[in-house]
């Protein structure tokens, strides 16, 4: 039980990463694949945040006097996650616009049926 409470964030993060990778590898519908990319991104972000956590820590903001600096969590992963979220949004927006165009061209989002380009 102690193991679970210690590692629950890691388990959650890598659970999301594996779900995302599995969706991307297995599913054929483009929208589902894009959702998989989103889940993968979220998992990575959660992992980064979990790396910076310290036990019973507070946010790294000195909003009032008397806050203990030793009790604050690592600010760097939070800054990284901010960047990573924005990158995720950018990729999702571009992927969705491509999906719109693809649907207009082929009338389907099934990746098995979209095989204009061959080896």
């Amino acid at each position: 039980m102690e193991f679970l409470s210690n590692y629950i964030y890691y388990i959650g993060a890598f659970g999301l990463i594996f779900i995302g990778l599995f969706i991307i590898l297995v599913k054929h519908n483009l929208i589902k694949v894009i959702i998989g990319i989103g889940i993968l991104d979220t998992g990575v972000n959660l992992f980064l945040i979990a790396v910076g956590y310290i036990s019973k820590g507070t946010a790294p903001i000195f909003s009032k006097a008397g806050l203990d600096a030793n009790n604050m969590v690592d600010p760097v992963p939070q800054a990284l996650v901010l960047t990573s979220i924005v990158i995720g949004v950018a990729i999702l927006a571009l992927a969705l616009s491509l999906a719109i165009r693809l649907y207009k061209h082929y009338g389907t989002l099934d990746l098995r049926k979209i095989k204009e380009q061959r080896w």
Binding site: Y10, I54, S55, A59, P75, A79, T83, V86, L94, I100
Partner: protein, 227 residues
């Protein structure tokens, strides 16, 4: 068959990660870099929100790249959808009076809230990206509620460009006038924990707020128009 291969692949990755995670105990003490930022962040940048000081000062160059990526997404989305032929005008069913009035009432309040978030980015949780996203959500509300309204695309583009240029010009002023470093915090830091403090951080965050707001609005606009 494909599923089994995928699962085996994932299992191998999983084993590797479990191996590696033993060296990263959860909830352990801070790292060297993180410790430095928390100890010296207030004196060196003047911001009480250490995450902001990391985002905009210590790692400000990343943020410039980040802003660029969002800009890139808006432009790329426009480029992909630009050659799409329209299928004629979309049928718009006008919204009910309650919906319209509600949207009109909420729109300025959401804008105000977004502006509050990015102006106070160096003091409280939040900042330019979050505030910009809130502002874009106000425009999304108008799109969904008052359906016949449209944003002014030219004004949107100009806001976007000027906000981006402000960021770069602030960096270049730091390079030439103050301190010979790109993006150095050349303005007076002011008294800590007040609105007018921490030098260039609020100015850049306001620029980012405008930029993110107009870019996300542009993305929403493009997707609404073309799909």
């Amino acid at each position: 068959m494909k599923k089994i291969i995928s699962l085996i692949l994932l299992f191998i990755i999983c084993l590797g990660i479990v191996f590696c995670l033993q060296d990263i105990p959860f909830g352990a003490a801070k790292t060297k870099v993180g410790h430095y930022y928390i100890d010296n962040g207030r004196e060196e940048t003047g911001a009480t929100n250490i995450v902001t000081s990391v985002v905009l000062n210590y790692r400000g160059f990343d943020t410039l790249g980040e802003v660029t990526i969002l800009f890139l997404a808006a432009i790329g989305l426009g480029a992909v959808l630009a050659t799409l032929k329209k299928k004629g005008k979309r049928q718009i069913e006008p919204a009910s009076l309650i919906l319209k009035t509600g949207c009109r009432f909420l729109f300025p309040l959401i804008l105000l809230f977004g502006a509050y978030i990015f102006i106070h980015g160096h003091l409280t949780p939040g900042g330019g990206f979050q505030g910009g996203a809130i502002i874009a959500s106000a425009f999304l509300l108008v799109y969904l509620g008052c359906r016949e309204r449209k944003i002014n695309e030219v004004a949107n583009k100009i806001t976007e460009s000027i906000a981006g240029l402000v960021f770069i010009v602030m960096g270049l002023i730091g390079l030439t006038v103050g301190g010979h470093y790109f993006l150095s915090n050349f303005m007076p830091k002011g008294e800590i924990n007040t609105l007018f403090s921490s030098g260039i951080i609020p100015i850049i965050y306001i620029a980012i707020g405008f930029k993110v707001g107009s870019e996300l609005t542009g993305i929403i606009d493009n997707l609404m128009e073309k799909s």
